[in-house]
Amino acid sequence: MPLLRQDRLYGTLDALILKALKLAPRHGYAIARWLEQAADGALVIEDGSLYPALYRLERRAWIEADWGLSELGRRARFYRLTRQGRQQLAIETREWSVFAAFVTRVLEMA
């Protein structure tokens, strides 16, 4: 089995979303805000790509969603991590560090 999957880079957003939901269930906008704040401006995630990612993760049953009331009293879809999602996050985290170490090693080769 290859060390790295082809979609490593593509999957980065997925990993970040899982991480965002590990701390607390959130609706889509709250996930976007958390990612913006966590990245402290270093990373801009298009709102347009956030939702397809969320729906994909939901389809893979890594996250699940339920309607609830937002802090302002509006109906909003709240996402939360499933048990599988939690496991997936652990895998993603491990793989990312392997990947990062590999990239670092390659780039620092003399």
Binding site: R33, G48, Y51, Y55, E58, R59, G68
Partner: protein
């Protein structure tokens, strides 16, 4: 995910983003434009999301279902008492209905294992509205003259002596025409059945065995075919063995021998001893066949006016004929069990209704945090389904146990095919669906009403919507009415049938059963040919023990038309009555009282004045209001010039010969020595010995010794005490009473619990109101009276509805009742009283509790 939900989600995102941008100082319209722009092209994004969402949906529905199921199980676990009672109640209903309906299916509805059950008929001779056996002559003529049957066959049930090691044995058999087996189209297990010419004299020494006899007597020997066995002292070659399932007339014959009619038999139209079965031609209906047979009978009546003048013929489907009474009995039981099931459903509806008020708060909270109505409804549906499924699983186990108990408790041979009962899936499915409808609707209706309400109001009102409460009270009132109605119908119906069974048991039999034992003895015609020899042999036995030609309690004696002196000597003048040929000591042994005249004595011999004793019923029919002693009648023998008049010398008390529930027949008795010569042939040269002794084994030993002294090769059959015979005769009624009694008990328990629960809850809900009334100056008595009146209202309505329904359906029961009218006031009164008392207790107990509470506290409670 539906497109609408995608829109809602994206709109929420845009709004939040816009608010954020405004907060950062952007002008409002620019903020909104920017928020939208960040999502990219709205229509393509929406389409993408909808597509992904749709593929998620299927799997999600399943996982949501699983989620709902787990949630439902958790819900049930939080209220274990409620869950146990609701599921247990439903399980009783489902299990009972399934068991009984499975029995109905096995006994009544399942087709018999014949090739063409719908075309298999029984054809009987009809004489004055009575269907009876057929003479050989008529059978032979029917075969040639009727055009409705593909095949007709005749069978005479005979007792035969099977002479094989270790001892001779009497077994029941059938003398059948060669066509008999082809009517039913069942194939032999081994060998073959009779061929074309084997029912002609000289070719008829072949025998077909039943599987049971083959197993018990010949060790299931596969080399049995071709072996010669001794039947009635004559050699017969075994040609076939029929399978265990072959018992077309449910008579349990053990073997079949050919009915090889002699020319004399074929011409005999006056001796009716054959059962005729037939297979309808493929396109002929039962009605058409019956018309055809009536036409044939008319032609025969014209041809043989002396024998057939008053005889017609009737045709019935054989299956219905065989099932007979068991059909009605089982339908009654099914009716009772259905009522129990309905009561169970109403009870569960009540429970769920009560619980819905407890759950109003939970549901309101879930609605408030955004659970859609569809989601809530699905959740409640799942809960109902889970409950019904659990109840059904329990119900199946219960049904299996009930069937086992029922089959074990049922008296043998009384309910045909009962032992073939097995749990029927379609019935179980039906019960499951009804139970699910009951649970789901009763859980759903209040839930829907709650879901429609503004959740905030429900939460503020602590789950007591005033309007909903009033409606719920009305609904509960209606449920009480339904429950009382059903319970009353069930209890009245079962009560009447149970009372019938008790009445039967108490009916006097007309003789003293204590210590009576009986056993059969038959003289094989091969060694005892001459009537005089037979008479002499029985006379010898009668020196030691009492003899009678037909055992009491198991049926009437031989059927005879009897013409009292003074009436014209024509068949229309005959009184149909039942003859017993007896030894002179019969009345003293049986302790049957002689009401007038005398019993037989040793002087009533052949050659002396021909004498007879008649029963009280016979005397009342033949000579109403006149002393019958000294009167004469003609019967059973003699023709033309020598009518052989018999003189009545005594009147004996009536005996209930057909058993406890049977009618009393007109009967008459003749002494053995004066018995008509032909009688021995009617009786198959068999008599029953009777001994009264405190010890049944002493009695049996004495009877065996008497027969052995006469002829050691003679077998003694069917040794039985009168108590056993009586129990056997009573068994069907007792079994029915037991079944119905048990059902009525369960029904009463369920409905009492239901009525009690509803009314008590209803009164408890009004604690607040009671407090207000007390505070405003109403006395305790005033309030009690109010509660009682209002609580009893739906009960009274239910009692009247139930009484009306029972009276209307009484006609259905009347045929099954004995010694009780269908509107027996005692039963109706007792049932009404019991149900009224349950309802009253249900009102008074919580009402008194409410009364003890201080008005101020009741008000604080707020209800």
């Amino acid at each position: 995910m539906r497109p609408k939900e995608v829109d809602t989600e994206l709109a929420f995102h845009i709004e939040m983003r816009a608010r954020e941008l405004i907060a950062r100082g952007l002008p409002e319209d620019e903020a909104w434009r920017e928020a939208r722009a960040r999502l990219g092209d709205p229509s393509s994004l929406r389409a993408r999301l909808v597509a992904i969402g749709r593929s998620t949906h299927r799997r999600e529905t399943l996982s949501e279902l699983w989620h709902d199921v787990r949630f439902a199980l958790r819900q049930l676990a939080t209220a274990p008492t409620f869950a146990a009672i609701a599921i247990g109640t439903l399980a009783i209903g489902i299990g009972g209905t399934t068991a009984i309906f499975s029995a109905v299916r096995a006994v009544v509805l399942a087709p018999f294992p014949w090739a063409h059950p719908d075309r298999t008929m029984i054809v009987a001779e009809r004489w004055h509205d009575l269907d009876g056996s057929v003479s050989v002559g008529n059978y032979v003529d029917w075969r040639t003259m009727s055009s409705s049957f593909a095949e007709l066959a005749a069978e005479k049930f005979v007792g035969v002596t099977l002479d094989a090691a270790p001892a001779p044995e009497r077994v029941s058999g059938g003398r059948v025409t060669q066509t008999f087996f082809s009517v039913f189209g069942q194939h032999p297990l081994l060998g073959r059945t009779f061929r074309g010419d084997e029912d002609t004299p000289g070719n008829d020494h072949v025998v077909v065995l039943s599987e049971r006899l083959w197993r018990s007597r010949f060790g299931a020997d596969s080399a049995i075919l071709g072996r010669t066995i001794t039947v009635n002292v004559a050699p017969y070659v075994v040609i076939g063995v029929m399978p265990a399932a072959f018992d077309p007339t449910l008579s349990e014959e053990q073997l079949w021998i050919p009915a090889a009619f002699t020319p004399a038999e074929r011409a005999e139209h006056d001796e009716h001893s054959y059962t005729v079965v037939g297979l309808l031609a493929p396109t002929v209906t039962v009605d058409a066949a019956a018309r055809d047979m009536r036409r044939v009978a008319e032609a025969l009546a014209a041809r043989y006016p002396r024998q057939d003048a008053e005889r017609s013929a009737s045709v019935y489907p054989l299956d219905r004929f065989l099932i007979g009474n068991a059909r009605d009995q089982l339908w009654f039981v099914l009716g009772a069990v259905s009522l129990v099931f309905l009561i169970a459903c109403v009870n569960v509806a009540n429970l769920l209704l009560a619980r819905s008020s407890v759950r109003a708060r939970e549901i309101a909270i879930r609605a408030a945090i955004g659970a859609g109505r569809g989601r809530l409804i699905r959740q409640l549906l799942t809960e109902g389904a889970v409950m019904s499924l659990l109840a059904s699983a329990l119900g199946v186990a219960l049904a299996a146990a009930l069937i086992r108990v029922m089959v074990a408790a049922a008296p043998a041979g009384v309910i045909p095919r009962l032992e073939q009962t097995h749990i029927n899936l379609s019935v179980l499915g039906f019960a499951l669906v009804v139970a699910a409808i009951a649970t789901i609707t009763s859980g759903l209706v209040p839930a829907l009403r709650l879901a429609r309400q503004d959740p905030h109001e429900t939460l503020r009102g602590e789950g007591r919507g005033i309007g909903a409460g009033r409606k719920r009270e009305r609904l509960r009132g209606a449920l009480v009415t339904i429950e009382v109605t059903l319970a009353l119908m069930l209890l009245v119906g079962s009560g009447l049938l149970v009372k019938s069974a008790i009445m039967q048991q108490r009916t006097p039999e007309g003789f003293d059963m204590v210590g009576l034992s009986a056993a059969g003895v038959s003289l094989p015609p091969t060694t005892y040919r001459d009537p005089a020899v037979v008479r002499h042999a029985f006379e010898q036995i009668a020196q030691q023990v009492t003899l009678v030609s037909a055992r009491p309690l198991t049926g009437p004696g031989s059927d005879n038309g009897l013409i009292p002196e003074g009436r014209p000597l024509r068949i229309e003048s005959a009184i149909q009555s039942s003859l017993r040929i007896i030894s002179p000591d019969y009345f003293s042994t049986m302790r049957i009282p002689i009401r007038r005249g005398r019993a037989f004595t040793a002087q009533d011999v052949r050659g002396a004045n021909r004498v007879a004793i008649v029963s009280q019923r016979f005397a009342d029919v033949a000579w109403p209001g006149v002393d019958p002693v000294g009167r004469r009648f003609v019967c059973c023998e003699g023709k033309g010039t020598d009518a052989m008049w018999k003189t009545v010398v005594g009147v004996a008390g009536d005996v209930r010969s057909r058993g406890p529930s049977g009618q009393i027949d007109p009967e008459f008795y003749l002494p053995i020595d004066q018995a008509p010569d032909d009688a021995w042939r009617w009786l198959g040269q068999s008599m029953t010995m009777i001994v009264r002794s405190p010890s049944p084994s002493t009695a049996a030993g004495a009877m065996r010794a008497v027969v052995r002294d006469l002829d050691p090769t003679l077998p003694v059959s069917d040794i039985q005490t009168a108590d056993q015979a009586f129990r056997t005769a009573l068994a069907p009624a007792r079994f029915n009473a037991l079944l119905l009694g048990a059902l009525a008990g369960i029904g009463l328990l369920l409905s009492a619990a239901g009525i009690f629960g509803v009314i008590a809850y209803f009164v408890a809900l009004r604690t607040h109101e009671i407090g207000v009334r007390r505070a405003l100056g109403a006395t305790a008595n005033d309030v009690m009276w109010l509660m009682t009146r209002q609580g009893l209202e739906p009960v009274a309505l239910g009692l009247s509805l139930g009484t009306a329904a029972s009276l209307l359906s009484a006609r259905l029961l009347s045929s099954a009742l004995y010694g009780v009218t269908p509107w027996d006031p005692l039963t109706f009164g007792a049932v009404g009283l019991v149900l009224g008392a349950v309802a009253l207790a249900a009102i008074l107990v919580p009402a008194r509790r409410a009364m003890r509470i201080q008005p101020t506290r009741a008000l604080q409670f707020g209800g």
